[in-house]
Symmetry: C2
Subunit: 218 residues, 2 copies
DNA sequence: TAGATTGTTAATCGATTAACAATC
DNA sequence: TAGATTGTTAATCGATTAACAATC
């Protein structure tokens, strides 16, 4: 199966298509046209058709798209039609919150272990998932197939931990630490920078405040 | 102060500039050229200059940018030069994790209260922040100035809660629930859709797997 | 068949990069 | 002054939208 280079903009939209299709399925909708979907999602029908046709022709002229079929195809494209094993590094607030958040499992993202350095946390279980000593990271990884490492450690140790993970063959990192990790080309990193998200919101608030202050001229 | 319409792409980059400038300050760097900064950040110097010039001329020909000055100016642009009061709705895993995460406070984002419906949680304090009964939301908001409401409730109640917040005059929502909130034009929403982020990572893993499978031709 | 709607090409729009005159 | 580097205009690139022929 050959893939042409897909733009980041398209990839970002795929999970949202998947979500809307899932909701349509739940409401018992069997087929949908790009036009109807575009109205629900507030995007153009053209964009939906362009996006999907990056991956193949999933629709049928005169009919539209079969909701369940398209839902499953997008799941395959996203790679969520299979199990993804994860470990979480950092048993602090976010590490524990992510471990407790069972929704990931419904999508096949299975948390296999939690790692921490603190003796207070090591040995304890969160939702049946053991907290292991960070010292045993390499040992654990040599015996388990892990697809994704989730990084919820402080900024100060994140790069060091990432290096250890990569040395063990980890190829995908979900990074919650507020820095840009340096990784080799064959390792993928997806960042969740909460404070940057919050600052963007703050910008929008300021923007609005300024507009209102200067007699809204629109 | 007039603002022309700033593209979303630019806004997303501002917090990252702010972060790098902060790090430069910490390492005692006083001035930096767009070219040097571009190398550090892995963007083009042209883009940095274009981005900044949306907001004004912060540099000086032949000199570059004063790091501390630019850092402070970007903070002003982002609206993080002032205090932003927040409440968190939903005292579950993420609500508690966000409450415990004291880093937001260092940027002026002050959590004033946590709200929940569960009797187990109501009345308890997290890091000195009280968990209040969701029933008293309206009462609380009538007596406190809150800039941002953080939504960490389940998808099923998120829209309903958002409606209540908006009815009380809340104009900014940081939404962790996995749905697209319907809000009036004057309310800003910033979404953190963790499962979508994870799916994007999963896509990148699949993409790589496919490439390797078909004899990497690059 | 006629109507609907896709898949796909062409046109437009916007964002990024390059170039360079202005100026510190 | 000469050198460096910005601010800004022009060129390029890429993404979105529009249009329509193909086809179910």
């Amino acid at each position: 199966m050959e893939r042409k280079e897909i733009s980041n903009a398209v990839i970002k939209r795929l999970p949202r298509y998947h979500r809307y299709l899932g909701e349509l399925m739940e409401s018992g909708v069997e087929r949908i046209s790009s036009n109807d979907l575009s109205e629900k999602m507030n995007v153009t029908a053209s964009q939906i058709r362009q996006d999907l046709n990056n991956f193949g022709g999933f629709g049928q002229q005169g009919y539209g798209y079969n909701v369940e079929y398209l839902y499953n195809e997008i799941a395959k494209i996203l790679g969520i039609d299979r199990q993804n094993n994860m470990i979480i590094i950092g048993g602090g607030n976010f590490g524990q919150a992510l471990t407790n958040y069972s929704n990931f499992e419904r999508r096949g993202f299975m948390i296999q272990a939690l790692f921490d350095v603190s003796p207070d946390r090591i040995g304890k279980s969160v939702r049946g998932i053991k907290t292991l000593d960070m010292k045993n990271l390499e040992e654990f990884l040599s015996g388990h197939h892990i697809d994704i490492a989730v990084l919820t450690v402080p900024k100060s140790t994140a790069q060091e931990v990432a290096d250890r993970l990569i040395a063990c063959g980890i190829k995908a990192i979900w990074n919650f630490a507020h820095l840009d990790l340096k990784v080799p080309d064959d390792v993928v990193v997806e960042n969740v920078h909460l404070s940057e998200s919050l600052m963007q919101l703050s910008y929008r608030i300021s923007e609005k405040r300024d507009k209102e202050g200067s007699g809204q001229n629109s």
